[in-house]
């Protein structure tokens, strides 16, 4: 990880217009991604992790969705404002994405070779033969045994873990600057998960790729990430270096989350700590702290206004009235 910022997300807002009302899926998200950094986004289901990342590469289905505000600065350009064609040259090339279910991005009717070669030829302007050699190299790096044979197989001939490896090989085949991985291991068993995470860590370190890793697993971010953003109800409520977040969590939500996970290395005693209540519906949320109904430390001001992000040092920032002077 270096000081050089390669992606800057500023006050990003993505709303969905539905029959029930306006879903503020992402509501003012700001973060920087540095060259070679692995940044984790954690949060509960529906907190806006996937929508944040789909917004970055401008892949929000419209309608019903729309980027309602903010900027995504990459290489001097605001990705939010690019044309489809300009975006195409970036997606899959400079910024690539892998998903939880590899079958959403693999075409079941095409051989792996066809799919990989197409991408490489398109973005890297190589001839087919060189592209195939490159594809085989990537599959080998991704730990696919006998890649020169398996490359001509179809996706269904691979197991779940191997398909995820193929996805990673494809995702990294154009040496992207940024890899966005949305729950890349959530559907996999722990032993396979360990292999895949190892692979992502190893390959991206070698290629100098920055990674945005989306997951709901605190264990996964603890082992993988330099920096963590904690999302709640469409906002980043806390962000900072991984060790800071785990050692000195500031936001009551982050604190509660860390305490409520049962841990392998400790006995949790008779009862687990648990945060009461449930995450809010992000339709028609009032402009206050969305966590206050579940918060043990809620104050009057929390019900009235959303707290601005406050820098608490060491690159650690939190949005909570406990750390901000109420005005």
């Amino acid at each position: 990880m270096t000081e050089e910022i390669i992606l800057q997300v500023q006050d990003l807002k993505t709303y969905f217009h539905t029959d029930e009302g306006i879903v503020k899926a992402v509501d003012g998200v700001t973060f920087d991604l540095h060259k070679g950094e692995t940044l984790g986004i954690v949060g509960e289901s529906g907190s806006g992790k996937s929508v944040t990342n789909l917004s970055i590469i401008n892949m929000i289905p419209n309608p019903p969705g729309k980027i309602a505000g903010g900027q995504v600065m990459y290489a001097g350009k605001d990705l939010v404002k690019l044309t489809i064609n300009e975006l195409r040259s970036i997606r899959g090339n400079k910024i690539s994405m892998i998903f939880q279910d590899p079958m959403t991005s693999l075409n079941p009717y095409l051989r792996i070779s066809t799919q990989m070669i197409e991408t490489i030829v398109l973005h890297q302007k190589l001839d087919k033969k060189t592209a195939k050699a490159k594809a085989i190299d990537m599959l080998k790096l991704a730990g696919i045994p006998a890649p020169e044979k398996r490359i001509d197989q179809y996706p269904h001939q691979f197991s779940g873990g191997m398909r995820q490896r193929v996805m990673i090989a494809m995702g990294l085949s154009c040496n992207p600057e940024i890899l966005i991985a949305d729950e890349p291991t959530s559907a996999l068993d722990v032993t396979i998960q360990a292999q895949i995470l190892d692979l992502i860590k190893d390959l991206t370190a070698r290629l100098g790729t920055a990674v945005i890793l989306i997951t709901h697993s605190l264990g996964v971010v603890a082992g993988m990430c330099d920096t963590i953003c904690v999302m709640y109800a469409g906002r980043i409520v806390e962000r900072g270096p991984t060790t800071e977040i785990f050692d000195k969590p500031k936001h009551p939500y982050t604190q509660g989350l860390i305490k409520s996970v049962p841990r392998l290395d400790k006995t949790s005693g008779d009862r687990l700590y648990s945060i009461r209540g449930q995450p809010p519906n992000v339709i028609d949320l009032p402009d206050c702290c969305p966590f206050y109904p579940r918060c043990d430390k809620a104050m009057d001001v929390c019900k009235r206004k959303y707290p601005l992000s406050k820098d608490v040092g060491n690159g650690h920032a939190v949005s909570c009235w406990l750390y901000t002077e109420a005005k």
């Binding site: 264990g219 049962p262 841990r263 392998l264 290395d265 949790s268 995450p279």
Partner: protein
């Protein structure tokens, strides 16, 4: 002979699913050996945790115990009754004592019934068959009681499943399972689909209910930390068999089977300092498919401690230390 305080005794349980047609010209019938000789007992008031990777046969084991699948072999003895030999009618009566809770509360709740009706349904069915003596009024009262007990307001009894969150739906499923006052609950990944903060609430609820009603659980999860938290004893499954079974504390402190060791080392711990220092046993290869029986140890292909013997012969589950059984030649003399 089972000990006096044993509630469930499972012996050599087998569930082989036939696949494909038998070839017209005398081709051999093929099977999926989903569960292939499983033995365990659960004492009253205990929780046996069942862990293992996807497809190893956890759900099939629970379903074969519940007789939702009729096992192809072995015996299932619940409170002194041999379930595998019961006819359909006696089985219904016996099932009253044994209820299931599933992973996906949405798929397992009828979307067209209100939460109140869902919870009342088993009581109504058993009352109609004369298997429980309850009046409508008593059933109504019990529904409200159950809802309050699992943390749902009784004012929600006329709401439909889609009007509840995932955690609340799981509470409905638990209330329904409790309705007939079973001794045994078979819980198939009841917290796997839930968010961390909700998962903690539901795990606590399972523990509280156990303390209050003396419930016995067979509890399936693939999260080893969840299993550690909830279980008195733990069985680790691999490809249709039990690789290791022991007291929970023992298993986590001193895993014996190379597979258990790998599983534990692969599970992430939410602590960056620990994660940095940890040595992982990275297994190669994928879990093989259970579509054939093998002469040797089922873990042979992925084992980093395999010996020649393991290829030819299948190790049986044997006690290596008091109360700690393992199916691995490293511990058999």
């Amino acid at each position: 002979m089972a000990e006096k305080d044993t509630l469930l005794e499972v012996k050599d349980l087998k569930m082989h699913f036939p696949i494909g047609g038998k070839g017209l010209f005398g081709g051999k019938q093929q099977y999926i050996y989903a569960v292939d000789g499983v033995n365990f007992t659960i004492k009253k008031g205990e929780t046996l945790g069942l862990v293992g990777e996807s497809g190893c046969g956890k759900s099939t084991t629970a379903r074969a115990v519940a007789q939702l699948y009729r096992p192809t072999g072995g015996s299932v003895n619940l409170a002194g009754k041999e379930l595998t030999r019961l006819n359909a009618k006696d089985l219904i009566a016996a099932r009253k004592n044994m209820q299931m809770v599933f992973q996906d509360p949405y798929a397992s709740l009828n979307p067209r019934m209100t939460s109140g009706d869902i919870i009342a349904e088993p009581m109504k069915i058993y009352a109609r068959k004369g298997l429980v003596a309850m009046t409508h009024k008593e059933i109504d009262e019990r529904v409200e009681q159950l809802m309050e007990r699992v943390g749902l307001s009784r004012f929600f009894r006329n709401r439909y499943p889609h009007e509840f969150s995932g955690g609340q739906r799981q509470r409905i499923g638990i209330a329904r399972a409790l309705a007939l006052r079973p001794e045994l609950m078979l819980c198939d990944e009841p917290v796997s689909a839930l968010d961390v903060s909700i998962q903690a609430q539901i795990l606590n609820l399972f523990k509280d209910l156990q303390d209050e009603f003396g419930l016995t659980y067979l509890f399936i999860a693939h999260d080893l930390a969840v299993i550690q938290y909830i279980s008195t004893r733990v069985a680790v499954m691999y490809l249709g068999i039990i690789a290791e079974i022991s007291g929970s504390a023992d298993l986590y402190k001193k895993p014996l089977h190379p597979y258990t060791q790998a599983l534990l080392s692969a599970a992430p711990i939410p602590d960056p300092a620990i994660e940095k220092e940890r040595k992982r046993i990275i297994l190669t290869g994928d879990v093989p498919s259970p579509d054939k029986q093998r002469p040797g140890c089922y873990f042979y292909d992925r084992c980093w401690k395999r010996m020649d013997k393991c290829k030819a012969e299948r190790p049986q589950l044997k006690e290596a230390e008091p109360g700690h059984e393992v199916a691995c030649f490293l511990y058999h003399d």
